[in-house]
């Protein structure tokens, strides 16, 4: 008897679920993918209304807002997507840039729904570029707050600073290229050069901001639809605002200090002859040792690297001789020391921030000391003496050996 009872009830349950499913085809969250625009990049600039906006404003029916920020959204709209996939040829423009001006990034995004039938989704956002002017005026924390809070942007999105207007970094004259992807892909080049920072994603940014320490953000230049990664922007931990730039060379020095480089070169000139020697980096390691004597703190930086001799303009001297190699090594080492010293000076004297991770090492190696000094570290750091020890080893010189 229990069996039939079971079957009866089972059957009822099944029927019930089936029937109840039908009204549920309201499918609240169902939005077909082709009805949406993928936002792949966004640029935040100091407010400057675009032509269209001005005209729309003139017609009235706007809304109360303070013109603080101009966001430029790079979208892949369905039309653009279909044209790139169907025609294949990169004649068409493969993205669309739309600008909005206002005071709340979130509101601005939603304003886009007033202008397009394919609303903006941020799941595929790849880069956020923040203009210099904006970064200097507002704390980064405020600027990216919405993106961190909302579930729209993924925390893997990269953050970059641009010299000049950020929106121009999202323009490209190369046919078929989407600037956001371009930017995103370029951070992978760290294995080729020491002049690129390891990528800073939104989530890491949040951690850095929260910790209150100063840090660097990759800087992007733009000119005539071309972009270039050039140096880094210095963000002061306390205020979260940008206070200056490090140029390419200085950034190189920082990379050497942190030891995070994966490839690149050291260009130096021989002291005697003034000729060019280029050392290609295969691996680099750096070790920052904090020394604490009483109340005084100092750092010893040990930098090691192995590589090869990759360009040699010296007329005399043969790489087959170790002596020559030693000379080349010494020259390159001197160059590295010079780079490193330069940037530390800039950090300490000009900007008074620690962006190379000295504080971090202090925290790890001497936590109790760190507890004491961490609140005012940037200030303390600017007076701390630092010693450098650089050792490069040239392992080989490629396939071209002696000269004469």
């Amino acid at each position: 008897m229990k069996q039939t009872y079971n079957h009866y009830v089972q059957f009822l349950l099944v029927l019930l679920s089936v029937l109840l499913l039908f009204p549920l085809t309201g499918c609240w969250s169902s939005h077909e993918i082709e009805e949406q625009s993928l936002g792949v990049g966004v640029a935040y600039d100091k407010a400057k209304e675009s032509m269209i906006e001005k005209e729309l404003d003139e017609q009235g029916e706007g809304y109360a807002k303070k013109n603080l920020v101009t966001s430029t959204y790079q979208l892949i709209t369905p039309q653009v997507a279909s044209s790139t996939t169907k025609q294949g040829g990169p004649q068409q423009k493969s993205y669309v840039n739309v600008s909005e001006t206002g005071d709340s990034p979130f509101q601005m995004v939603r304003e886009l729904s007033l202008r397009s039938d394919t609303p903006f989704t941020g799941y595929h956002m790849k880069v956020i570029v923040i203009g210099e002017a904006l970064a200097r005026s507002y704390s980064l924390e405020q600027l990216v707050d919405q993106n961190l809070r909302d579930n729209d942007f993924r925390p893997s999105c990269l953050v970059l600073i641009s010299k000049g207007r950020a929106s121009s970094t999202l323009e490209s004259t190369t046919a078929g290229e989407v600037p956001a992807f371009h930017l995103y892909g370029m951070v992978d080049n760290t294995y080729r050069t020491t002049r690129i920072l390891p990528p800073m994603s939104l989530i890491k940014l949040a951690s850095k901001i929260q910790s209150g320490s100063s840090f660097l953000l990759q800087n992007v230049l733009s000119a005539n639809g071309e972009i270039k990664f050039a140096g880094a922007a210095v963000i002061k931990g306390k205020t979260g605002r940008m206070i200056g730039f490090l140029n390419e060379e200085e950034l190189e020095g920082v990379t050497w200090i942190t030891g995070k480089g994966k490839g690149g070169l050291v260009k130096s000139f021989d002291k005697k002859t003034g000729q060019l020697i280029v050392y290609e980096i295969e691996s680099m390691k750096s070790h920052i040792k904090p020394l604490v004597k009483g109340n005084s703190i100092s750092f010893d930086v040990y930098i090691e690297s192995e590589g090869r001799l990759s360009e040699n303009w010296m007329i005399s001297g043969s790489p087959l001789e170790n002596q020559f190699l030693q000379k080349a090594q010494k020259t390159s080492e001197k160059e590295v020391k010079h780079l490193v010293r330069n940037v530390v000076e800039k950090m300490q004297k000009e900007y008074k921030v620690d962006v190379a991770g000295f504080g971090n090492q202090l925290r790890i190696k001497k936590p109790r000391v760190w507890m004491r000094v961490k609140d005012n570290w940037d200030q303390t750091f600017s007076e701390v003496p630092i010693n450098y020890h650089v050792k490069l080893t040239i392992k080989d010189y490629g396939t071209s050996a002696s000269k004469k």
Binding site: H7, Q10, F11, V14, L21, L24, T25, C27, S29, S30, H31, E32, I33, E34, Q36, L38, V40, I76, P78, Q79, A81, S82, S83, T84, T85, K86, T121, Y123, H124, K126, R154, F181
Partner: protein, 525 residues
């Protein structure tokens, strides 16, 4: 309406006397259904019962030189003419007198059935019947009836010879490597296949009959020393409960003895291959063979059995394992791919790689339907194609499948009704479902795929997960003759996993599955 009902009821009541009379008559007839000494009367009764049939023949003759009358009744086409002519007729007509005269003197009365049976009839299968009903049923299944003047019963001689197929490879379960032998429709052929393939110790073949009007022979096979006696009892109990007019195919038996008829999953396995049956018997399972169908049943059954093919064992263990893995992947693909597609496209575009998302958007821009409708459309089309392919004559069938699929897919994409990605998804699903060795499970998965798609369309990925949980809950509760359906995956018994997703080398598979509660746990040697 009601008046009519009343009228007919009254009419029925008004007929009792007629009915009673009829009943009495038939009652008396029933008692007179027994054969009497009167040969002519007997013959008359037989002719009345069977004579109107076109294929029933009556052959009167005289036995040997005794002058005693006799008659054989047989059905043309069902009975072995050879046997009748050479053995029955010859032994009764030609050779009879020789033996008889050596015995007692020629006397009509002393013609005993013992003598006929023991010394004359050179047939192996001899029975005696006393009523017309028995005779009729036997004759109509191919036996020959022999009535002799002076004997108050009839002999039934087993001369059934059905025209059967030659033994050939089963169409639905072809293997690359393995015996090309399949069951046929004749029960005796099938049982001979079981016994004949090696001397199986203790193979019991227990006979049952199912079907009230069309009595069919059914055999329950098991290896006595291995099987759990409780299992045999349960199987026999359920078979005895079958109460139908006609049981044409083992499928009927399957449906009537399975544990849960509401479940989409088959709880009894069917197969045309004797090697599968024998392997199952060796594991302590029970097989059921039904006369008239080449499909034998194996019970109990677990989910993992549905995904196994005898080939896994005939090939070495590394390829065997690999192919099994492939099958599991195929099951997952065939069940979930369209649902996942719908979930991602309609609900979570953020979970697909960007480049893929862009190309999907691009190709779907012109499509007017939401993902669910698109997917349903294509899936239903494929299912109809598949069914149609089965019905078409052999030369056209496969070609139609390929052509139909390609052309419809292409055309649909060109027309902008579906997106090319969906065509790939559907093709993948279809191909994966062909990789499943058991056709019954294949159908189940096809149905469940639609349910999964619906769930995905309502609640996205969450819906798919819920569907999976529901399905698992069902599977985990399902039992096939007392054995949990999801054994040997659960409950965890490490030793049983040697045959689940991998196929461990033969040297390591020495024990029979614990879930079967077998009497003899070791596979000898």
């Amino acid at each position: 309406m009601k008046m009519k009902k009343w009228k007919s009821k009254i009419r029925k009541i008004g007929k009792p006397t007629d009915e009673n009379e009829n009943k009495q008559e038939s009652a008396s007839q029933a008692s007179t259904n027994q054969f009497t000494d009167d040969f002519t009367l007997n013959l008359e009764v037989v002719r009345k019962e069977l004579g109107h049939n076109w294929d029933v023949h009556f052959r009167d003759f005289i036995i040997g030189r005794t002058g005693i009358e006799a008659c054989i009744v047989f059905v043309e086409g069902l009975s072995d003419k050879d046997l009748i002519d050479k053995h029955i007729m010859t032994s009764l007509m030609a050779d009879f007198s020789a033996e008889y005269q050596q015995e007692e003197p020629y006397v009509k009365e002393s013609l005993s059935n013992q003598f006929i049976k023991n010394q004359v009839l050179s047939i192996s299968d001899v029975e005696e019947v006393h009523s017309i009903k028995e005779l009729a049923s036997k004759v109509l299944t191919g036996s020959t009836a022999l009535l002799i003047d002076g004997l108050s019963h009839a002999f039934i001689l087993g001369t059934t010879k059905l025209k059967t197929r030659t033994i050939e490879e089963p169409v639905s379960e072809a293997l690359v490597r393995g015996p090309r032998v399949g069951f046929t429709e004749s029960l005796s052929d099938n049982t001979s296949l079981l016994r004949g393939s090696g001397d199986i110790e203790n193979l019991s073949l227990v006979k049952f009959q199912v079907g009230k009007r069309s009595k069919k022979d059914l055999v329950v096979a098991y290896i006595n020393e291995i099987v759990d006696p409780e299992l045999v009892k349960e199987v026999e109990k359920r078979i005895k409960k079958i109460d139908l007019d006609n049981v044409p195919e083992s499928g009927y038996v399957e449906q009537l003895i399975e544990d849960n008829y509401l479940s989409p999953f088959p709880q009894v396995q069917n197969t045309e291959r004797p090697d599968r049956v024998i392997a199952a018997l060796m594991e302590g399972r029970v097989a059921i063979l039904l006369d008239g169908t080449p499909f034998a049943l194996i019970a109990p059954v677990t989910f993992s059995m549905m995904l196994q093919s005898p080939e896994d064992y005939y090939e070495r263990w590394i390829p065997g394992t690999f192919i099994r893995f492939l099958r599991y992947i195929a099951v997952v693909l065939s069940l979930f791919t369209p649902a996942v597609y719908i979930a991602f496209i309609s609900f979570h575009p953020g979970l697909i790689p960007t480049k893929l998302a862009i190309s999907i958007i691009g190709t779907r821009s012109g499509v007017p339907f939401p993902a669910l409708i698109e997917a349903l459309f294509m899936e239903v089309a494929i299912e109809i194609l598949r069914e149609a392919g089965l019905r078409l004559p052999k030369p056209i069938g496969p070609a139609m499948g390929i052509v139909g699929g390609l052309i419809i897919g292409e055309a649909a994409v060109q027309a902008g009704i579906v997106s090319p990605i969906l065509v790939i998804v559907v093709a993948l699903t279809a191909i994966s479902s062909f990789a499943i060795p058991q056709y019954s499970v294949g159908i189940t998965l096809r149905i469940l795929r639609f349910v999964a798609m619906l769930c995905a369309a309502i609640l996205g990925l969450y819906g798919v997960v819920l569907f999976f949980l529901f399905m698992m809950s069902h599977l985990v509760k399902l039992k096939s003759f007392g054995v949990p359906y999801m054994s040997p995956a659960v409950p965890y018994r490490l030793s049983e996993w040697k045959d689940l997703m991998v196929r461990m080398p033969l040297m390591m598979m020495k024990r029979r599955p614990k879930m079967m509660h077998t009497k003899d746990p070791l596979r000898k040697g």
